[in-house]
Symmetry: C2
Subunit: 228 residues, 2 copies
DNA sequence: TCTATGCTTCGGCTATGGTCGAACTATGAA
DNA sequence: TTCATAGTTCGACCATAGCCGAAGCATAGA
């Protein structure tokens, strides 16, 4: 007699490339329409519709009707957390979708990786946080130090808010253009969100490129140079 | 251009019921032979052999030759952690393999759930730890309190050891015979291991049943009754 | 060497499920 | 009402992959 949770059903849902693309796209935290997701998944709208129904049935995503649009999003932070873990595992085991990094120099420079900052800029941020003693590496683990906590709060991020959920606060994410680590987790997302909110940078439409303004570039550099 | 880790490959591996059974069986932490795993998976040896090759190729399990046996085990704690997250998510979303709990009364009383204690005994342990203030529930989160830390150390478990890896230290696990929580995570495993080592109980061969000795039963009850 | 056991490989069968074209439903705008 | 856009459902096609029987390796013991 078999008992226990049925992980195969969830695995099966994630196991289809089109559905995995959909879930990856939703990792940004934004709700997207079926048409947008079809674009991301690389299949037709009909096929996408079927996939969305299965994902919703499996409890991984939820739908919100709004006018004639239907917005899809991940059900909760737990789903996002599990997906992030899977991404991390997949990266560790070398399951990358492309062998080479992004070709576009702008993508190499600064891009969004699900919901956090990647590329040169992402690595620079990560290295600076380590160097300033705000983050501490112990093996593969990453933890926020006391000084890091105040740094984060000063930057306008409520620690309370971002650590209240199941998804890890901070973790390494392997950068496939540079083969080095950058910062993922709710903290990685919060920092990028804060930068976008401060208009240091904005996300280009229909692309993963993060475009820094001149002022934003200046502020970013100052942030990294700041001594403890 | 798609980039990023390919979660679909891992999802696909987990997505097959036979492979999911194999992975679940390996969650106990023990290395098992292909024949044993075929039993667990409910398919023939040939089919199992194919599945094992795929899992190994995907980096989820690793093989150790020993004489004419081949022992399979999960690659590392990270894989175990991801599987545990998936189990938790699956339980939350109501994906259970069976609608009813185990029929066998002994199974209801005390059984192994992957690698930790479940059934009446598991729930009793969980409730006692909460009631004694060793564990603290905040929403769905579970954390070890200061008093819990010393309790664990006194019980002969090295906190250092069990929290050095990526898998969560303690987390709730929904008990499908009782529909209540018991303790999972590395702490859950460590406590069960300690009980087995102290000969309070032993695992029946080819079954999930945990058989408590008379003395073990007494010690267990005393442990739960102990005041802070 | 011979035999038993553990496991893998090969080949053929079959079912599952992903895919898209076409038709249908629903909402909003003119 | 009419048209356009967003999305779902249906049906047919087809590739993938799970499955097992049979045969083939490999190791241990006699």
């Amino acid at each position: 007699m078999k008992d226990g949770p049925d992980i195969s059903r969830i695995g099966q849902l994630i196991g289809d490339p089109a559905r995995a693309n959909i879930l990856s796209a939703l990792m940004s935290g934004k709700a997207l329409t079926a048409t947008e997701l079809a674009q991301e998944a690389g299949v037709t709208l009909q096929t996408t519709s079927g996939h969305l129904a299965k994902l919703a049935d499996g409890g991984l995503i939820r739908m919100r009707k709004q006018g004639r649009h239907r917005y899809y999003a991940l059900t909760d932070d737990e789903v996002a957390g599990v997906l992030e873990n899977l991404m991390h595992l997949a990266a560790m085991k070398g399951h990358l979708r492309t062998r080479t990094g992004p070709r576009d120099p702008a993508l190499r420079h600064a891009r969004i990786c699900y919901d956090h900052l990647a590329g040169d800029k992402g690595i620079a941020l990560y290295d600076a946080l380590i160097q300033q003693g705000h983050l501490q590496e112990t093996g593969d683990e990453l933890s926020l130090t006391r000084s890091g906590e105040s740094f984060v709060e000063e930057f306008g991020i409520s620690l309370e808010e971002i650590q209240s959920n199941r998804r890890p606060l901070c973790r390494q994410c392997l950068d496939w253009s540079e083969r080095r680590n950058h910062l993922a987790g709710t903290l990685g997302k919060a920092i990028l969100d804060q930068m976008l909110e401060r208009n240091w940078a904005k996300r280009e439409v229909n692309s993963r490129i993060i475009q820094f303004s001149r002022e934003g570039e200046r502020q970013f550099t100052a942030l990294l140079a700041k001594q403890n």
